[in-house]
Amino acid sequence: MQVVTAKVKKKPLLDLVADQIPKLVLSPTILMTVVFIYGYVIWTGVLSFTKSSFLPNYKFAGTLQYEKLFENDRWGVAVDNLFVFGGLFILICLALGIFIAILLDQRIRAEGAIRTVFLYPMALSFIVTGTAWKWILNPSLGLERLVKDMGFENFTFDWLVNTDMAIYTLVIAAVWQSSGFVMALFLAGLRSIDSSIIKAAQIDGASLPKIYLRIILPSLRPVFFSAFIILCHIAIKSFDLVKALTNGGPGYSTDLPATFMYAFSFTRGQIGLGSASAMMMLAGVLAILIPYLYSELRGTRNA
């Protein structure tokens, strides 16, 4: 928008202005980023050093909130859960995504329809599917009952109500939602591989699994990378999923940092503590993002 006004300025200036156009075009985004992302992060950082409780206030509290946070059993559980949940979720999504993509790449009939089935969960939020998932995973209502009714009396699937296993039900539902997207990424990757390389390998007598392992998968490294970052982002932000499926229970055994932060900042009126947990989350994000950006930006500079 600035550009339009800039253009009608006097002619001698035109060239000067033209040079600045790219920066001007980017400037709204820069402004928004500075205010709405970094401004707010700083604000949250400030709050984490205050006594803010019900609403924000600016009474300095030193590192009290951080000390409280690390003493809090529930925060420990939430962080451990993020590692378990995030690790499994990312791993299974990648593995399943590649697996389905390879299957679909075998000249499958009705590929379009099947692909849509794998992709559709991405279109639904857990606000929509939460109840259905809760039923399916519930032992007395869902799968367990169904299989038992079919005659397999000894079948048990009670993770949802088991304190030690409930976190894995989150993994199941999360994989269901996101693995289709990963599949699409890999399928796209597979389809863009130069077929002459594969032909050459076949002429050399390489077997199909070998071709996949030695040639195709290594060439998909950038896809792995993109998928990994997207999955990390989903794992860290997982919130609706927990709210819909377990609401952190049984007890608080399935709490994640995002739900912890929300509960303390909003439900329990301990904004200072919530902010401290948010800062810890952001620190975790940086630890993942910096290596990624480093390689990403170096990569394009070389290109």
Binding site: F54, P56, E71, N138, T163, F266, R268, G269
Partner: protein, 417 residues
Amino acid sequence: MKKFKKSLLAIAASSVMSLSAYAGEVEVLHWWTSGGEAKSVAVLKQLLEKQGHTWKDFAVAGGGGESAMTVLKSRAVSGNPPSAAQIKGLDIQEWGELGFLTDLDKVAEENKWSSLMPEIVSKVMKYDDQYVAVPVNVHRVNWLWVNPEIFKKAGAKVPTTWAEFKEAAEKIKKAGFVPLAHGGQAWQDATVFESVALGLGGPEFFRKAFVEHDMKTLQSDKMVEVFEMFKSLKPYMDKDAPGRDWNIATSMVIKGEAAMQLMGDWAKGEFAAAGKKPGEDYLCVPAPGTQNSFTFNIDSFAMFNVKDPENKKAQAALAKTILEPEFQEVFNLNKGSIPVRLGMNMDKFDSCAKDSMNSFVSTSKSGGLVPSMAHGMSTTSYIQGAIFDVVSNFFNSDKMSAKEATQKLAKAVKASM
């Protein structure tokens, strides 16, 4: 439908007469969005519109008001809170302290509020000794819902103490039923826990622990006993309880799968929807050992500062209307609760509600009337949250002893004070 047409007419008539006089608007944030609840608030809307004001509905459901409170905070921060919001218990004091709430003393005096409700209730509605909120209804939390059919089949007696409860539960379990229907969500765990605490410790113990947060009481042997009893109920629930909604637990009692449920009187709505009659198909009795006490859960609307004088009038009208007998009756018939206004004609209410009312009046005199901890009446949201964490975690974990839980409880409460 007839009612609706009637009120439409009334609205039309009143708008001709008085719309020019006041055209105030109230924006009301609440989390009553489903079935009977929504119909109940709709009555309030109609009554207000009859007086010529407009009602701007702002409904946000979820988590017993959790989402609504998040929204309210962001509205307050952005500088335009609604004129009225459904806020419960001690949170009213928090908002009052931050200076958001308006003083309702004028309306309260004109309508003699202080003589209409027990002091323990009006205390919750006041900040700095001024009315800032209006109570809508009273729920009794310490109810035990009973399926008499199962008791008959199992040859068990409806329990009046926790010892009897275990006796009956054993028999029911042997007969092949689930003795206690339960939904393992933090607030439901806490609902059961507080009923146990009240039944074993009595109202004085309850008040010391959950209202005054007396460290000695929280760490006492009595509390250990409460935790032990609470945990010993677990074998009487089915193993699929965690995460279950309360109403599914209720439907287990309705369907004859489970014999009992500890739940507030909103459970009545589920029984009514399934066409069951109180006293015949199901019984409502006080939770074991709590015959002479009453844990209350009161819904209320807190009134925020508004600038526009017309809107201020509308807000005052809203406050006044809420406590009028007309609204109190219709609303509470719908919601399953009892009027907060004393001395009302209870003819239209069912036997459970009548019992509840009698007990509300008598306990308010005897001192057996206590605020519910599980429903945010007795303590701030942060202490409540801390208690929930300990109680729910203890209940779901096999690794913690009752003694440890007691210490954790004391520590958690202290840390969040």
